[in-house]
Amino acid sequence: MSIREEVKAFILQNFLFSSDTSALGDSDSLLEKGIVDSTGILELVTHIEEKYGIRVLDEEMLPSNLDSVAAIAAFVAGKRAA
């Protein structure tokens, strides 16, 4: 499973309680769609830190890095490559 697929599956299951991949587009804004609230961001960050062995710095906790499946996948890939 690609990072993108895995992140999407996590968000679907953890926040929408669903396995239906059509319920969420890769570039949908998680905040605007009301899928993730502020505690959801904490859950999300904890998950990607544990899953991918990365550290998300305070200054990286930004919507541009974390507000969609595509953004998260790109952010994680960038961190792992760094």
């Binding site: 309680f17 669903s18 009301g34 609230d37 502020s38 505690t39 904490l42 859950e43 906790m61 930004l62």
Partner: protein, 653 residues
Amino acid sequence: MCGIAGILGGSGKFGPERSRLERMIRQLQHRGPDGFGFLERRDIGLAHARLSIIDLETGGQPISNEDGSIWTILNGEIFNYPELRRELEALGHGFSTRSDTETIVHAYEEYGDDFVLKLNGQFAIALWDERRRRLILARDRLGIRPLFYTWEEGALLFASEIKAIREIHPRGLELDIAGLAQVFTTWGTAGSRTVFAGIETLPAGHMLIVDDGGHRVKRYWDWKFQQTFIAAPSFEDAAVQLRDLLVDAVRMQLRADVPVGAYLSGGLDSSGIVSIVRRYSSSPLRTFSISFDEAEFDESEHQQQMARFLGTEHETVRCTRRQIGELFPDFIRHAETPVVRTAPVPLMILSRQVRESGLKVVLTGEGADEVWAGYDIFKEGKIRRFWAEQPASTCRPALLARLYPYLRHSPVSNRAFATNIFGRNLLDTANPGYAHGTRWATTRRLWNLFSEDVRSQLRTAAATVDPGIDLPAEFAGWEPLARDQYVEAKTLLEGYLLSSQGDRVAMAHSVEGRVPFLDHRIVEFAATLPARYKLRGLHEKAVLKAALADLLPAEICARTKQPYRAPDAPCFFTDGAPLPYVQELLSDRSLREAGYFDAGAVRHLVEKCRAGRAIGFGDNMALVGVISTMLLHQQFVGAERRAGLVQRQRVQA
């Protein structure tokens, strides 16, 4: 305090016979364990379950006027009955009891339908005028005491709780999907809606009149905020006037022929009430409070400090997660609605303690946060409006960091995201739900769990569920804070705090809660004051604090408001597994049979909660919402019905 029930105009299976009335009122025995009373006439039957508080000897009900042509039953109290009685006696009315209830029939004789404006109290009343063959149901201005009704084959069935109506209902009850959707948005139903199809509640400040001309529901009172404040007193004068009003409200609400106790939360409001009792009356006072093992919820340090300061005889009940989980089904039987929080359950445990201590009346601090702007949601509305004036500003949203300091996982802990979350619909300032939008959106995440069937019903009903309240014509001309207060009063206060977390959990153990802050004179006075007296900058309840300052330790006045909360999702698990009843209720089979929720989605939610990963409000509310809905279905609807076609037709109609 009591329970009332009745039938009007029925025949055959809804005839007002004694046996039928007895079946209804027996369902309300917890509200009035001290005796039943009945009135049977050709067209009407009234039943009353009594909790004796005033006039222990002759206060039985129903009570009539001198010639027996007007009858009434009352659930609640008329606090100004001595004054009203003197007024009516001076006008020539003869009284045969010492009861507060008797003032109702004489006031009706004297003032007609306006009698209700003469009453200072918390009440649900049924009044029968035999000569004019006319029934009036009336509910207090703020909605402190409950009253429900339904029409069946031309008969009106009414009662303090829905279970009394259900007892004689021919078809049994069904949940109303639009009502559920409302609970899973604003935490309660609004207006006359309940979560049961066809069952209505009489809204606060309304009366229902039935006579030969038909039936009509009429509003007799509402929150009326001012649009200008030219005549408003100075801040200092307002504090003095408020103090006088509070003292008088407490004095009146201490009226009882049995001892009165008080709840002490550790916050400003209940401490203020108790300090007034100490300063202005000689009543010995017993106080009660709840404590928790979890530091996040526990306020016992402040409670003990206040009890010592006030010199009350104080009892504390320690509530555990286990107790909350185990008592939850019993609570739902009393509440008769789904809920999204477990917080009412500890209050039900507390009322048991009060009763076991020999008391049946307690004063509480409820209502002060709504009337004097104590909640963070009012600050949230104020900051967002301030920000909306200059949306590009980065300083303005930084004020959001001042909100919700008491939460472990605060929604403002990450600034970049907080700005994004609270910035949603930022410019929509004319929306009546502007301040509440973020909270409602969090609660609505529960809609993700609805079954496809329910979701499709909701798509057609969407217009009717948000926010479900009738706004007064002047609403748009009020100050923003007043608008937010009105919405709060009509949603959370009326639909949840006074009912599920108020009347129902106290009456579960035959305890009457009295709420001096909701004396209508105080609510009316507050509405004449400008918003800046209440929310001064971002300091809440400014004028109330000024009114109570010399009665309380400075640190209580200075303490930031901590809303009362209890542990939620963890209560339903023990040793890593759901409690047995939860397991059964949330099994795929039970969920599919009931039809409200998607079984797969609930499984994911339960697993997340079981593993301790549900740290946010959204998930906790979702779990409590699902369990409570399933309990309600099991207790009131029954296995043979599911969320199906009948509701769909109703919603579309």
